[in-house]
């Protein structure tokens, strides 16, 4: 059923007569057959359509680029609000609308790629367990303020933006949505940032190198790190996993294309593991050529464009400026601690999970995680921690995969240089906790130990959200 078809806001309930085709009919000229084909696969029950929507991101490129043409596209967009279940359009109920709200798609008048800013719930696309970086946005629909959690998506317009700018935009919008200290950046402004590091003309977009993208990020006070597969070999995907596990989406370089890695797929039923990376099966990506939340694994059938994970040849991680220690450096430091402790008769458990987080988040979770080991709980609540910390959780394979528990952790100051923090800040092992008291009071290194209980506790879980 269609309500208010010719109004500024109309509503389509999916039933025997109406479906996505009815929505497309209300938005004539905005979508190619290729785009319609992709959208038809989204399983929803009703769509609210705003036909005169002013989108801040499109208006930014329209004002600064499209409007300068002799024949200009329309300046307004269409916004589609998707609902996973039927709602009462005539009598809005904020609780019910929020419960069934699945996000929005903005359609720009920029054929052939007209999918503009989009934020959809991952549940619409994901059909297996995965772990995603997500952010939330508040959306006003018919006077009702709703919230949606997802990862931002946008397609390239092929004029002002190509896949490199679209991927940068998705990454930066995630950061500005999730962390208040990142500024919101619009597509044309992003192109201007890249203009400061030119290689050829800026318009129409001729593509960007990873180094140009890294330079643009540096101008935003982000400290990017670049990894090429031919340098890191088999460890390459371990670092992909470590950074995603840390809650950092990645720019993934494929042959002539770049996509955003936003989560990982891990199969915890696999055996013979020595680290959480051994469960890693694939990456959830936002590819601006398709729709959000696509998969990329070893099997080309898993990806709508037959991409496979081995085609990824480089990646760029956007670390905060304060993070000086990289994933591979931290892993090396932990690796070298093992013989040092062995000499003193201390065995470090063999199963590891590595991630970066903030000292603040770690403390926040400590209250609950260490409730059965009060001496450790109180220690973490009292001890000063740096803004960013690298953590290597220690566990046993079955304890981790079946119970999601660990028995200790090694914590390193991520704001330190590789040689600055000696043996780290905290080495918490079953029955003993070693800590650098000197670092806690900004003084000379002073390693102390205290006896603690040996009780497994839940793994740290704050960087990513588990879906399904």
């Amino acid at each position: 059923m269609i309500r208010d078809e010719n109004n500024v806001i109309s509503f389509v309930e999916f039933d025997k007569t109406d479906n996505w085709e009815s929505v497309f009919r209300i938005c004539p000229g905005y979508l190619t057959e290729y785009a319609k084909e992709r959208i038809r696969g989204i399983n929803v029950k009703c769509v609210l359509i705003e036909t005169q929507y002013i989108d801040k991101d499109y208006r930014n490129t329209y004002s600064k680029f499209h409007s300068k043409k002799f024949v200009t596209p329309k300046e307004r967009c269409i916004r589609l609000h998707l609902f996973s279940n039927l709602i009462d359009f005539e009598n809005p109920d904020s609780l019910i609308w929020q419960e069934h709200y699945s996000g929005y798609i903005i359609l720009r008048p920029t054929l052939p790629n007209s999918i503009g800013r989009t934020l959809l719930s991952p549940e619409l696309f994901i059909n297996e367990k995965c772990y995603l970086c997500l952010c939330t946005e508040n959306v006003m629909v018919n006077g009702i303020d709703m919230e949606i959690e997802g990862f931002p998506f946008i397609s390239q317009d092929t004029d002002a933006t190509v896949c490199a700018q679209s991927s940068l935009w998705m990454l930066l919008r995630f950061f500005s949505n999730r962390y208040r200290w990142y500024k919101e950046i619009y597509p044309f402004d992003l192109t201007c940032l890249v203009k400061a590091h030119p290689q050829g003309r800026s318009f129409p977009g001729a593509g960007l190198t990873m180094v140009q993208m890294a330079d643009a990020l540096r101008d935003l006070s982000i400290a990017p790190l670049l990894y090429c597969k031919n340098q890191y070999g088999k460890d390459f995907f371990k670092y992909v996993y470590n950074y995603i596990e840390s809650g950092f989406p990645l720019l993934l370089g494929l042959p002539e294309h770049v996509v955003v890695g936003i989560g990982h797929i891990s199969d915890l039923t696999l055996t013979g593991s020595t680290s959480s990376y051994d469960f890693f099966q694939g990456i959830v990506i936002n590819d601006d050529n398709g729709l959000p939340y696509a998969k990329i694994t070893a099997n080309k059938m898993d990806n709508p464009f037959n991409l496979t994970i081995d085609q990824i040849d480089s990646f760029l991680v956007s670390l905060p400026e304060k993070v000086l220690l990289s994933a591979e450096q931290f892993e090396e430091l932990v690796q070298e601690l093992i013989p040092l402790f062995k000499k003193k008769g201390i065995v470090i458990p063999g199963f590891k999970r590595i991630f970066l987080t903030t000292g603040r988040s770690f403390k926040k979770k400590a209250l609950k995680r260490y409730r059965d080991i009060p001496e450790v709980q109180k220690f973490y609540l009292k001890i000063p921690l740096p803004h960013f910390i690298w953590v290597c959780e220690l566990s046993e394979p079955e304890l981790y995969s079946k119970h999601l528990k660990c028995v200790g952790e090694i914590i390193w100051d991520a704001t330190s240089n590789v040689f600055d923090s000696q043996f780290g800040l905290v080495i918490h092992l079953p029955e003993i906790l070693i800590f650098n008291q000197g670092a806690a009071i900004n003084s000379e290194a002073d390693y102390c130990q205290i006896p603690v209980g040996n009780i497994p506790y839940s793994i740290y879980n704050n960087n990513l959200k588990e879906i399904i």
Partner: protein, 62 residues
């Protein structure tokens, strides 16, 4: 190592806290040994990073 002046922990911990290294000599020896083992490995990692950045100069994504 001075494990007696526990400035960051409540008093009740002091009874349980002991130095991890028996002497300053042991601490310095362990630290120097640790540095000498990690230094060549970190240099190799830094070289990989430098080569990664060189390789990424040319390939365009559109």
């Amino acid at each position: 190592m001075s494990a007696t002046a526990i400035l960051v922990l409540p008093d009740r911990y002091n009874k349980k806290v002991s130095p991890f290294f028996k002497s300053l000599d042991e601490y310095y020896k362990t630290r120097d040994d640790f540095y000498s083992r990690i230094q060549p490995e970190i240099e190799k990692l830094n070289e990989k990073r430098r080569k990664s950045e060189e390789a990424a100069q040319v390939k365009r994504y559109r």
